[in-house]
Amino acid sequence: MTDCWNTDNGEAVFRTRDMVKNLRIKVRVEKVTSTAALSQHLQHQVLSQQQDGGAIELQTLTSQGHKGDNEEELVVGWQEKLFSQYEMELFENEASCQTPLERQYHLEVKALKKARGRRNRRIFTYTDHDRYTNSLPFNQLQYSSILLNTSKSWPTFLAERMTSLRQRGQDQQKIDCGVPKAKIINWEPTEEFVRNTHVVNNVMQTMHIMADLGPPEKLGQKENECLLVTIKTDGSGTVIVKPDFNKGREPYRIVTGEKKEVWRLTVENASTVMKPEQKDREQNIYRDLYTQHMDYLNSLVGQDFEMPPVGVLRYLLNGEIVSAKGFEYDNLYIHFTIELPTNWSGSPNQSLSGVTHTCRTKPMGKEDVAFFSHLFSCEASYTCDKESEGTLLQWPVLYFKVLSLDSWQRCRTEGYGYLLFPAIPGKHTITCHTWRPLQTGTVSALRRFFIGGSPELEDISYVRIPGTFKGERLSRFGFCSETTGNVTFNLHCMQQARSFVDANMLRKKRQRVLNQLGGFSQQGAVSSVQEAFQKARKKMQEAQENLPKDLISSTSQLQIELSSQLKTI
């Protein structure tokens, strides 16, 4: 006789794109009494007997008296106000109505009394506007005495702040997503304002479905009111239902009164479902909207994209000279050139060299650093022709030299360096170390200090591999240099070629096939292919066995006919 109860009455959060006024909830309360249980048991027995083929049809024992006393089922819409017995009596007198809302209730109650009466008996609702919504015992969850098992506890500071922001959606300020044109800062916030904005609050509309679970003769007592379901929604499609819909599971259990009566609560979603044609129409509308938007975007820019000619690799380098540090003198500037080897060509109207501004250093840590933030960009195309197919691809080089110029117009070389264009596209941060040629002896050092001249390289490509170098071994024997500071570059490179299109598509296709086979490893792929093969084979065998018999017989008939014909011939 004991039913199983659903003890999971936490709240459930639903998200919907539909308007919340389409929500309908069916609530059913049923009292669990001994007679009811007994009559149910008897009914089950009788039904089972009848099913076994019992001859006598017994009239089942229905529960006597008013069925509505011990059970009620109701479909409630969103913010639908249903009055309880207590409220009916309360709002009958005009004197007790204080707010305009209550006066409106008074009119509604009078109209209901003139008509055939209200359709609910025990179950009633509190909507968002009622004055009782704030003072429900459910509210007391804010205080930790409900959460903890101490007898006395005081609400925390945060709990106090949060209690005041229930359901009073009209007072709270909604902050716009757009940039506010008016004052951004509130220099004198009121206490209310502070309470509302210092904690996270979603403006929620609430509705409580209650039931008056007293004895049937004494309906209308405030103490017998019991909260059944709470529905909350914010304006953006979130609906919170506490407790959750039963969805076919066991009903919830409510225990009331001093006599500890047990009631069963079932909650169901009774909203009308959208018909499939309407769903299709909605999908089509969305799809049209999106394609329209895509067409608009395409029309802004155009569908084409600049592609290099066939067999050409286009290399695009966006770089910046960031900083130089660790050099001997101040007021540094950098002069750089880009060299393109054979088979490389640059676009005609770009300059392959540049000079930065002169920058006075500042101390950062132990070294002096100069910031340039000099942007440069280089676009080069590589054409592969048959002669150079055997040799390795040579990438362009950036040569630079760092010089210093002071207020007395003394110019000194501070260092030489080079940077090879990266072969891998992406972002590269490269720090190049520099050196400067050194002439041994005091005369050159004195000259450098006092007047400012210093030896320079005639051919800057000597920094890496001199242009005039032909041979196998590069020897720099006898060349003296001194290490100076370093220069930092940030490079972003991109490469574009027509052959990459197919490679990318191929890579994507391979990835897709691998994913479909369900494994990233080769082994996984092979075993899953084998499994699939076995399954297919089994299916084919079964299909062969299940071939319709007449087909086989017809073929055999054909054979007989053929053989008979042959015989006749």
Binding site: V301, F305, V322, T358, R360, S373, S377
Partner: protein
């Protein structure tokens, strides 16, 4: 048509001699680029750090570009200004950096510099502020005229940018 999304923030600035800073930023692109949504330029709030010396702005950048070619890749230009207690604004530095071309999360430190005048002007600047500014900050992009400038190194601006590329691989771009 390929699309580029730049989503990120200007985190803050550090290394400047003054502390009450704000930043004016903008994005500069070539002619083939079209801004589909987002604000191309803006100005942060003034931040005065109480603890430490880094000024934090956390200013959002959210841009959506469409392009027909790879030339003219977007670059970011920044101007850091100092607002003193009298309400005057003084230039603290210019910084330039390219928007990264590889997809993913990038942390960028953009170095800044400030134009310098003669030593007399520097002395005056030390006392009453002011100082030279570029007549048009856009002249810098071509790079041809930069060598005329005398500058001094200032601080760095930190940025965090997330780059999302779309349809670039369809046109054979590896980045």
């Amino acid at each position: 048509m390929a699309e580029l999304h730049i989503i990120g923030q200007i985190v803050g600035a550090s290394g400047f001699p003054e502390s009450c800073l704000f930043c004016k930023w903008g994005v500069h692109t070539g002619a083939a680029w079209r801004l589909l949504s987002g604000l191309r330029e803006g100005q942060t709030q003034v931040d005065l750090p109480q603890i430490g010396e880094m000024a934090y702005w956390s200013h959002p950048i959210d841009l959506h570009y469409a392009t027909k070619g790879l030339q003219g890749w977007p670059s970011l230009h920044l101007q850091v200004w100092h607002q003193d207690s009298f309400g005057r604004s003084e230039l603290c530095g210019y910084g330039y950096c390219h928007v990264p071309s590889s997809p993913g999360h990038h942390r960028i430190s953009c170095a800044t510099w400030r134009p310098l005048g003669t030593w007399q002007e520097q002395l005056v600047q030390k006392f009453i502020g002011g100082g030279h500014q570029l007549r048009k900050p856009d002249l810098i992009y071509s790079g041809a005229d930069r060598y005329r400038l005398n500058t001094e190194a200032m601080g760095t601006v930190e940025l965090e940018l997330d780059i999302i590329l779309r349809h670039f691989d369809k046109y054979g771009v590896n980045s």
